[in-house]
Symmetry: D2
Amino acid sequence: MFTGKNIVHSDVVTKATHDALARRGVTLEDIANIVYEMQVPYNEGLDLAECVDSIEKVLMKRELQHAILVGIELDELAEQGKLSAPLQQIVESDEGLFGVDETIALGAVFTYGSIAVTTFGHLDKNKIGIINDLDTKKGIGVHTFLDDLVASIASCAASRLAHRKRDLEEAGLTYKEAHKLKNKQPDQQ
Amino acid sequence: MFTGKNIVHSDVVTKATHDALARRGVTLEDIANIVYEMQVPYNEGLDLAECVDSIEKVLMKRELQHAILVGIELDELAEQGKLSAPLQQIVESDEGLFGVDETIALGAVFTYGSIAVTTFGHLDKNKIGIINDLDTKKGIGVHTFLDDLVASIASCAASRLAHRKRDLEEAGLTYKEAHKLKNKQPDQQ
Amino acid sequence: MFTGKNIVHSDVVTKATHDALARRGVTLEDIANIVYEMQVPYNEGLDLAECVDSIEKVLMKRELQHAILVGIELDELAEQGKLSAPLQQIVESDEGLFGVDETIALGAVFTYGSIAVTTFGHLDKNKIGIINDLDTKKGIGVHTFLDDLVASIASCAASRLAHRKRDLEEAGLTYKEAHKLKNKQPDQQ
Amino acid sequence: MFTGKNIVHSDVVTKATHDALARRGVTLEDIANIVYEMQVPYNEGLDLAECVDSIEKVLMKRELQHAILVGIELDELAEQGKLSAPLQQIVESDEGLFGVDETIALGAVFTYGSIAVTTFGHLDKNKIGIINDLDTKKGIGVHTFLDDLVASIASCAASRLAHRKRDLEEAGLTYKEAHKLKNKQPDQQ
């Protein structure tokens, strides 16, 4: 049994991460559409279910969970006008030279290697799909951190798919065979 | 004249950064003592005033200012019990596997190159001077982000000194001559 | 006087950096065209000379110089078939999952903050201008590291321009006035 | 079957990585001693075999394998005097402000999160065990990149152990039970 006193159990953190995304109007399917668009040119036969599956796996990583919880907290506090000056104004206006949103998102991106970093930069500049919706929604609500977090989740999931496809090819497995194996055990770091 | 509407002027952000550190009980001299200890083995004749000066210069960088404002805000919100669960508990207890504090601090450290990164890691593990005081103060107040931010400021200032000493050597200047020149113009990126 | 024995003087490293780029067929104007395209939407009246100037300034940073020297050396060694197996084959074929080229380039990008990182990711994916030429030139010569290095230089110079424009606005200076001041003293870290 | 033409199979890269370390006189036990020293304060009952096991797992990651192959290649080329000037002199003398060795090592460290980054910085400064031996061996042979690579491997393995211990605690498993499960399937990203 897990007896760490005062330590929040991973299951609680995982649930809080999913809840926070849902509360801010971002579904796993929204993010999967971005992953699909990024990876389908390199992966014939990729389907949306694989992308959702990859997102679910990266959302189990602590580094990404913590980034999401902190970023969404700051967006919500800014929305409620509860940050102190001048941070309130900087976050509220999503200032061009403010970079803590990218920094927090990048911390998680790094754990998926350099492919994830370049994918993140691309998504952050080109604001594909839900990332653009969040950006243009700015009148209603603060999404300074959320758009970078979505780009982070998508680039982690895309990089994970790229590495995994290669592992499967080398092992002579098809995705479906691997899928069955994979579901028996969680990702390990 | 500067006319960007809704844009917070750098002077306001710089002042807020200094105020935040002072409010949390960290003086530039506290940080300078760490920088001095790190750099004196490589720089005969280094004095504390040079270290304070280097800290003042790195505190003018946006990347570091924003990191400090966000990190201290999160510490203060946690201290007041104003973060939502489970983030409140994670930050309050400074959980060993929570890494957003290091990530935010590292974003600024990166701008001073790889020497700064290794110095940061060293300070973060070995908790020299005020960093240790903050760590053992934990009973009174939350300093989850602040100790990493102090390590970040110290490692940026130490790396800046190392690069600058080399520039001066190559230019055939002594520190005192350079100091006079430097004060006429701010650092440029 | 500079007396470090066995230490290569910065001027030698700076010259070697410029020579290496020229030897590999990359001009500062090629890179300036990318910087211009990236920054003109945010900077009315930006001209190519400003972009070349910004590139010259970032090329004085040690972190970027060292990255360029190492990356181009590896490209040239691979071109001559002088790397050992299996690295020779990996570099020669610019393997999709090989990321040391991006890693080396990113080390320098980090020193210009998070704007530089997202710009780098964008350029690395979308291969604008000379970056694309290098990529399609692959039949003749190895440019595995060079395309990432060019993206690195361009994103550093673009980020530097963005930060600098803001500093000037706040100081109430025009670019031309600042240009005169700037030429009197080198960038400081 | 794996049919990617010109693509080097992972098994070949893994073998080359182990061979390169052995050729440069670094054993997995040397690195395990460092990991043990870093992690035993937080993990009662940790043994050296667990540390070797963790090192073997991180050495299966592409990001780390590629870093090791590139870094050792550069050390060996410098040792043979085959790099061009001034890079030959910079690498040979392990110049204090040269940071590409840390940058390459850090690329892999990032994939194990912020704990790995601070551990790396600590090891890089304090040169524990084999890292110190390599550093003082400098008269005979060039180890500019190797000492950082060893610090990288050790910090990845230490971070992996820290995360894994927590996962096991939460799952109510002991290390030995988990060890049996783990050996049936490789780590997944």
